[in-house]
Amino acid sequence: MNETLEKLVAAIKTGKRKDAKSATATALENGTEPQLILDALTEGMNDVGVRFRANEIFVPEVLVAARAMQKSMDLLEPVLVASGIEPEFSVVIGTVQGDLHDIGKNLVGMMLKGANFKVIDLGTDVSADAFSAAIKEHNPNVIALSALLTTTMPSMEEIVDCINAMDTDVKVMVGGAPVTQEFADKIGAHGFSTDAASAVELAKKLCA
């Protein structure tokens, strides 16, 4: 890895958006392969994920890292598209009906992007119908459901029931502050993760 890409990795790890932007611009000007730049972003976000899971850093630190990554992606994305580099797997993500909280969902979405997933974000307060329509339209590998309110967890169950009743191989993963493995098992979800970093590992496992 050259010096510019090392700078990019460091900028992602510490959430320095200006540094991330300038390192990406320099790398592109120097003719660095877009895939290598993407790999550097993935490396940075992986490190963030590891520290997040180890309780060394928390949501705000992950958000600044993701914001720095987004600054880099703004420059990189058009180049990736032009080079025909496309993510292998796709995830449809959303916060379940009745719940307008999106920090957790956005974090998972950003971490998934950092791990080179195609992410289709349906936003918040998403109904079972909207999820099934998205499955039909995008044929994703994984559906990721988020809930922050305990009171909206029943809506999560409704959506899982609806998806499981469809003729599809899509895997459903669930998460959010009040969600537990026990609850995930109970409603028939394929996977549960406690945080955004493990969600990426889980998505990879579900796609394998």
């Binding site: 949501v59 009745g98 307060d125 009171t151 967890m153 029943p154 502050a177 009040p178």
Partner: protein, 455 residues
């Protein structure tokens, strides 16, 4: 029961003769009186009606009057989105573009839904306040700041070091206006609910959140009331920092290890509460799940003062009332607590194949299986065994009374295989005939006769 003074003592870490119980009836109150959450949270009549139902059915020592963390945000210009079975959510953030707090509508406890909440407090105080401590809930500074500014607050803690403390201080001042109004209306305990604390680390908590929280807790104390810090979500990493604040009590949800909280809180001289599982147990589970989980909380809280049994957070709308009634039935009843402690885990995949009841139809005698906690130490169990023995003598024909104690594998096996619905349970030739209630002798003799005739 209920016993407000006992709860207040526990909140102050004084010794109490039993564990106090505070079910957080928020939107669940709507289901108790048959209206959706919007109709509920907009009507002091419905709120007071539900509190009376909750007081009657759940026999609590304390109750929150309203659990809605959007009350202040609504007045300050956040748009709310209402749902049928949840509290409203904030759908817009008026400080999205900048930190211009002067541009926000002026806050007043005369605005929005606060007058109806205060009306509910006054009426609940008059009707229930003698026996039940009333909790007044307000939005903690971090959560209110997020309502006003959006997620950017979390990023701004890195870049906008001057603006963020100003906003948090503004939020604490809003909270203190509500504290004054609550205490004047008769609130006993002010709960500062700051669920977003579970999303930050102890560094940010100490740097940004502790100060505005203390501004509120100090104000509550100066008014002679008690304060609690409610945090939903996994706040484990922040427990020590939370216990460094000036609140009297910390309340947490199921994501936090109660053993760890008990240790940290007691070291800091704080009372603490929680953390019954909201969905898996109280919403989706049954009465036995609720009892087991209540005992799990009490056991994890351990010996010592200052523990308050409560759900982890706002009870889901459709929480089964019978589950909360089951918890109420345990409170202060060591016998029920012992039984719940011995209930086999629901997910235990134990079919007790080694415990084999006889083929009752082939037994000459009528077989009476009495499933007990232990007749030596449990009065209702002893009466049930004695009733069976006495009725056996009165029956006068071939009969055998066997006690199975659920403190051992034999008892648990019989309980599972014969489907005992409560302890003590009396089964005649393998069928449960009486559960919990001790039958009269003539009724028992009649069942013995029927069983003998059926052989």
């Amino acid at each position: 029961m209920p016993n407000k003074d006992l709860l207040l003592k526990a909140l102050k870490c004084e010794q109490t003769e039993r564990t106090p119980w505070v079910p957080f009836v928020g939107v669940h109150g709507g289901s108790l009186v048959g209206v959706d959450s919007e109709a509920y949270l907009k009507s002091s009549d419905k709120i007071v009606e539900a509190l009376k139902v909750a007081a009657d059915r759940y026999r609590p020592d304390g109750l929150p009057v309203v659990f809605d963390l959007q009350l202040e945000a609504e007045i300050l210009g956040c748009q709310l989105s209402w749902a049928k079975e949840t509290p409203p959510s904030v759908a817009s953030h008026p400080l999205d573009d900048d930190y211009d707090m002067d541009s926000l509508p002026e806050f007043s406890v005369e605005k929005g839904r606060i007058p109806l909440v205060l009306d509910a407090v006054r009426r609940a105080k008059a009707e229930l306040g003698e026996d039940i401590a009333l909790y007044g809930l307000l939005t903690g500074p971090l959560t209110l700041a997020l309502h006003l500014r959006g997620d950017d607050v979390l990023l701004d803690m890195f870049d906008e070091e001057d603006e963020v403390p100003e906003l948090f201080d503004y939020c604490a001042d809003i909270a203190n206006q509500l504290v004054d109004a609550y205490i004047e209306a008769g609130i006993d305990v002010v709960a500062v609910v700051d669920p977003m604390v579970s999303q930050i680390g102890p560094g940010h908590f100490r740097d940004f959140v502790a100060k505005p929280l203390n501004k509120i807790f100090d104000h509550v104390r100066s008014k002679g009331a008690l304060s609690s810090l409610f945090v939903c979500g996994n706040a484990t990493r922040n427990l020590e920092a939370m216990c460094e604040t000036n609140c009297d009590n910390i309340s947490v949800d199921e994501n936090v290890d109660m053993v760890q909280l008990a240790k940290i809180a007691r070291n800091a001289g704080k009372s603490f509460g929680g953390n019954m599982q909201l969905t898996v147990v109280l919403l989706l589970g049954d009465a036995n799940d609720a009892k087991r989980d209540a005992v799990r909380c009490m056991d994890q809280a351990g010996e010592g003062n200052g523990f308050i049994l409560a759900p982890g957070c706002d009870l889901p709308y459709a929480t089964k009332p019978e589950n909360l009634e089951a918890v109420a039935s345990l409170i202060g009843d060591n016998y029920q607590i012992d039984i719940a402690r011995n209930l086999p885990a629901k997910d235990a995949n134990d079919s007790f194949e080694d415990v084999v009841p006889p083929d009752y139809s082939k037994e000459e005698a009528v077989i009476v299986d009495v499933i007990t906690l232990d007749s030596a130490g449990c009065a209702p169990c002893a009466y049930m065994v004695k009733a069976a023995q006495e009725a056996g003598k009165a029956y006068g024909k071939a009969i055998e009374v066997r006690e199975h104690k659920i403190t051992g594998r034999d008892g648990l096996g019989y309980m599972t295989k014969l489907g005992a619905s409560a302890i003590p349970s009396l089964c005649v030739d393998g069928k449960e005939q009486f559960a919990s209630i001790i039958p009269e002798r003539k009724d028992l003799v009649a069942r013995f006769t029927e069983a003998a005739e059926a052989k």
